[in-house]
Amino acid sequence: SFYHWLFAHTTSEIELKTAPADFRFPTTNQTRHCFTRYIEFHRCLAAKGENSGECERFAKYYRSLCPGEWVERWNEQRENGTFPGPL
């Protein structure tokens, strides 16, 4: 259809890539995997600074693995200083 043709040519490419499998978490339970990816991202920010582009990779990892509500709650806890993880 015309609508689909128009949309297909104006949008950017979609890259099929996601967080890779981690051998630290080989089982079905991936709760710690999500938690660890989130902590790794914020440790990278603390080490390399907010404007560094090297931490974006870790951000994509935890966004792929963690539900949105969890990330929202953790962001709120970090702002309040009550986040339980070792940042």
């Binding site: 689909h4 099929l16 996601t18 499998a21 079905t28 991936q30 792929s64 693995l65 539900p67 990330v71």
Partner: protein, 376 residues
């Protein structure tokens, strides 16, 4: 094994063998209507609508709430199901996703009655003459066998079941024969004075070793299949998060987000029976489908926001509990394009039966088009 296959194909009728799409449509159409009524005024074609199913089942003679008129798609100048405007909104969305499909007029029957996989051009021309045999990717009434496999895991499960069933039939017949012979030959008329047999060393050894050997022959392929399901060695291409709620599923695609606020997320509610259109399945259709590419490694992360649910799709051979506060991961690889139906498989409250799962496997290019249309 050939005898068992003959037995299976005659008694356990599979819809991919003797059932055409038309008869499936007739099955669907024969269900009772007006069993479930929804009290909301929203149209299920809305993108982020929420609906309460607390008064789904209306008893006989109960004066329920006021049921408002539902929004219907107008069928102007349309007769029967030969008209393309009879396609539902979801199937029109499917057509938008399947950008390269060329639908000829007679294929409307097949698209309305079943969710067909795409067929080559020559075979599609043949389908206009010969009734199409549709894959069985949704539950049929009184179905006894499996739904057709779409993943290697489900194919392995079906093969394992057939192999073990061979042993089960043999053991069942043998044990029944031994039991009936004992009941006959040791009945009281023939043996007024019962014998006092205390112990037999030889038969004790025999009936301990032989079952162990049989169990070993059953366990070897079973464990091989079980450990092949844990395929974390393959990096997936897509991660989908399925979040269970009372009583709907929320799906998140977060691989394409550039910030925490941006999100490709949608709720997937069951279409009530009163709103079903021609050819849609009862208690199985949803307003927003999970769209995934076929022939691609997927990772589905399953969790819950309130109580236990279970994300189960029989054609894919997956069933995984949704536990609040825990992320369970399953890996799957869908081998053919199609629409696969599942249901919540953990009792989660009053409307546990009304939170179905629909997965639509499309080509990679169509999936990219779908993501582009959703993200922007």
């Amino acid at each position: 094994m050939g005898l068992l296959s003959c037995f299976r194909s005659t008694v356990l009728r599979k819809c991919s063998k003797g059932s055409s799409g038309m008869s499936r449509f007739l099955y669907t159409n024969n269900f009772q209507r007006n069993l479930i009524s929804s009290g909301g005024n929203e149209s299920y074609y809305g993108y982020f609508n929420r609906r309460s199913y607390t008064s789904l089942y209306m008893g006989t003679g109960t004066v329920g709430g006021i049921t408002s008129a539902r929004i219907r798609v107008p069928n102007v100048g349309c007769e029967g199901f030969m008209c393309s405007s009879h396609l539902s909104i979801t199937q029109r969305n499917s057509r938008l996703i399947h950008s390269t499909s060329k639908i000829v007029p007679n294929s409307e029957i097949q698209n309305i009655t079943t969710e067909m996989v795409k067929t080559p051009e020559v075979s599609r021309w043949m389908d206009q003459v010969i009734p199409t045999i549709a894959p069985c990717d949704a539950a049929e009434p009184w179905q006894l066998g499996f739904q057709d496999a779409a993943t290697p895991i489900m194919q392995g499960i079906i093969d394992l079941h057939h192999d073990i069933f061979f042993f089960v039939i043999q053991i069942g017949v043998f044990v029944s024969w031994v039991l009936l012979r004992a009941l006959w030959h040791f009945r009281s008329k023939m043996n007024p004075i019962p014998q006092r047999i205390v112990h037999g060393t030889t038969i004790e050894i025999l009936w301990t070793i032989f079952p162990s050997v049989i169990l070993m022959f059953i366990a070897i392929p079973s464990f091989a299949l079980l450990y092949s399901m844990d395929d974390i060695v393959v990096d997936p291409a897509i991660t989908i998060k399925a979040i269970g709620h009372q009583w709907y599923w929320t799906y998140e695609y977060s691989d394409y987000n550039n910030s925490d606020e941006q999100s490709l997320a949608f709720d997937s509610y069951m279409i009530p029976e009163d709103d079903l259109e021609l050819g849609q399945l009862r208690l199985l259709e949803v307003d927003n489908r999970v769209v995934v590419p076929a022939k691609t490694h997927l990772r589905v992360i399953i969790t819950s926001a309130d109580v236990l649910h279970s994300w189960a799709v029989p054609s894919l051979g997956v069933k995984c509990d949704a536990v609040p506060g825990r992320l369970n991961q399953i890996s799957t690889f869908i081998q053919r394009e199609g629409v696969y139906y599942g249901q919540c498989s953990e009792i989660c409250g009053t409307n546990h039966a009304f939170m179905p799962i629909v997965i639509e496997a499309v080509s990679t290019k169509d999936y990219g088009s779908w993501v582009s249309s959703q993200v922007n």
